[in-house]
């Protein structure tokens, strides 16, 4: 229970921090912001690794783990690469 309260506190503080940070992103960077945060939400890869089955798990868990790892990796790799591609266009003058 105590852990849960700590996690909840972390969650709420992160929400407030998110508001402070995101409102400062200029409209011109809103598309890279979306693809960049998409990449960040690929953090589910960590969750996918933790939830991935062991050798003795039911097949279903192994397959769900495989799907989760695949989808999260697409988000991480695709998200960061495409964001970088866009931001490089904004950088040159």
């Amino acid at each position: 229970m105590e852990t849960l309260i700590l996690l909840l506190a972390l969650f709420v503080l992160a929400l407030f921090l998110g508001v402070e940070l995101i409102t400062k992103v200029p409209p011109t960077l809103h598309t890279p912001l979306m693809s960049g945060t998409n990449a960040v939400s690929g953090i589910t890869l960590v969750g996918a690794l933790l939830a991935a089955g062991t050798g003795s798990s039911p097949m279903l868990v192994n397959w769900l783990g495989f799907i989760a790892v695949t989808l999260a990796t697409i988000n991480v790799v695709g998200g960061y690469l495409v964001t970088n591609r866009m931001l490089a266009m904004f950088k040159r003058k």
Binding site: T37, P58, F66
Partner: protein, 481 residues
């Protein structure tokens, strides 16, 4: 490795994500920000790999390989005009990943081992401690089932958004009863959540949550189209973050919670910005009918005999004598792939001493910031892209405005005609300029289904035809003058 050390390293990853987003607040620091964020991801993933030792790595390696290749190919081959589709897909994948994690966790903790479909319909007896003691068990079950719910809505909703943006699905379908149909689906899913919390072993309840949520995602997005897409994409972006944060609660993982809530707020803030820019509530975008009242305004009455058309070379002569020109792009520019042609026209004007800026409406295009990315691709410096609040006061000192592929965001009815469906929506006041040039295929209405009195004004010139072709002709004519 000890739990505290791992959590400290997760904290470092969290800080890197925060610094990464902070970098995105300025174009100059954005590339570095993205790099820091990616570094945070690498740290989090590598440390996690050290903590799992009894995992069957065949599936993990296969997943990373497949996902890495698919992700890289998508990211490197996608055209900038198709960015909204890509983001929609990534949102869906994020939701799908969280959904799979929650389902895997449910199956693992209940200890069920289904070998055929029919096994799902057999309630299982679950050990009392499978989800923890007392309140802990309730919270674990609530987190798991809500992750399934939100993850599934994000998955199917995003896939529909993708097919609409890719124009695979052109028609809009809704449930009978519209918002009520969706409300019933949502209530049904929540009832199944409550039932599952009381009967953890009832796999039927889990199947029901999954099925209802998948349907809800479909029917939530299917009736929404066109210019409302920026709101939908931003909202689904937020859902994918919330699903990730909830998955963090299931696994008791701090970095998932930090990253997920940052993404969740980002999506919500963008949703709000888009709604404000259309002067509509979120409920109105999701469930409302935009065109109500639109039929009462007769287009013929507004346009009849009052529309002046012009040829590209006539416009070129106007541009040559202008001191200041503002270009207002919309989704039509993306459709015509005209961003490079527009940049060349701007170059031609600038070489003749004309001051050129771009006026960007927040909802121009199909996602937040869509126009900015397209123009950045065409190597337009970002400081020439001026947002609505800053460009609006300058229109009175502007000689020529070129509107290309934008319609509703320039419609003066939003400002002047009380009772019109778009009344109150902030617009670009292009009609205040000395001359307005509108490049458009025909006088057909925009997404709002309204005629645009701007087209019939005395100082407006309509250039009919394909946007790219018209702009190229203007550039050629201007260079010959």
């Amino acid at each position: 490795m000890s739990g505290s050390l791992i959590n400290l390293i997760y904290l470092i990853a969290g800080i890197l994500f925060i610094l990464g987003i902070k970098g995105l607040t300025k174009p100059k620091t954005a590339v570095r920000g993205n790099f820091l964020s990616a570094l945070g991801m690498l740290v989090a993933v590598v440390i996690t790999l050290f903590t799992i030792n009894d995992v069957d790595f065949t599936y993990v390696i296969a997943g990373v390989a497949v996902g890495g290749i698919v992700g890289a190919v998508m990211a490197l081959r996608i055209q900038m005009t198709s960015m909204p589709q890509m983001v929609a897909l990534l949102n869906g994948f994020g939701g799908g990943a969280s959904l799979s994690i929650a389902l895997a966790e449910y199956v693992t903790r209940t200890g069920i081992n289904p070998t055929s479909i029919s096994d799902f319909f057999q309630p299982t007896v679950v050990a009392a401690s499978a989800f923890g003691e007392g309140a802990e068990a309730t919270i674990a079950l609530v987190s798991i089932s809500l992750t399934v719910l939100i993850g599934a809505v994000t998955l199917t909703g995003s896939l529909i958004a993708f097919s609409k943006l890719q124009e695979l699905m052109k028609k809009s379908y809704g449930l009978p009863g519209g918002p009520f149909g969706n409300g019933i689906l949502l209530l049904g899913a929540l009832a199944a959540v409550a039932f599952l919390v009381m009967n953890p072993g009832n796999t039927m309840a889990m199947v029901a949550i999954l099925g209802l949520a998948l349907l809800l995602g479909l029917f939530l997005v299917m009736p929404i189209g066109g210019a409302d897409m920026p709101v939908v994409i931003a909202l689904l972006n937020s859902y994918s973050g919330i699903a990730a944060a909830l998955a963090g609660f299931i696994l008791g993982n701090t970095v998932l919670i930090i990253a997920g809530s940052l993404v969740g707020t980002s999506g919500l803030i963008l949703t709000r910005i888009m709604c404000v820019a259309m002067n509509r509530s979120l409920a109105n975008v999701l469930f409302g009918k935009m065109a109500a009242g639109g039929e009462t305004i007769d287009a013929d009455e507004i346009y009849d005999g009052k529309v002046t058309s012009a040829q590209p070379d006539e416009v070129a002569m106007l541009l040559e004598t202008a001191q200041r020109v503002v270009i207002v792009p919309g989704y039509g520019m993306a459709m015509a792939q005209a961003q490079h042609a527009v940049r060349e026209l701007a170059d031609a004007m600038e070489s003749k001493g004309v001051e050129v800026e771009y006026g960007i409406h927040p909802v121009a295009g199909r996602m937040p910031g869509h126009m900015n990315v397209l123009l950045a691709e065409a190597e337009v410096p970002y400081d020439k892209l001026v947002e609505m609040e800053r460009i609006n006061p300058t229109f009175e000192d502007t000689d020529v405005v070129i509107v290309i592929g934008a319609n509703d965001v320039t419609n003066p009815m939003a400002r002047d005609v009380e009772g019109s469906p778009i009344y109150g929506m902030p617009i670009l006041n292009v009609d205040k300029a000395k001359t307005v040039v509108v490049i458009k295929r025909s006088l057909s209405p925009g997404f709002a289904g309204l005629p645009n009195p701007l087209f019939a004004m005395d100082h407006t010139l309509m250039v009919y035809g394909d946007g790219k072709k018209a702009v190229i002709e203007m550039t050629t004519a201007l260079n010959q003058l």
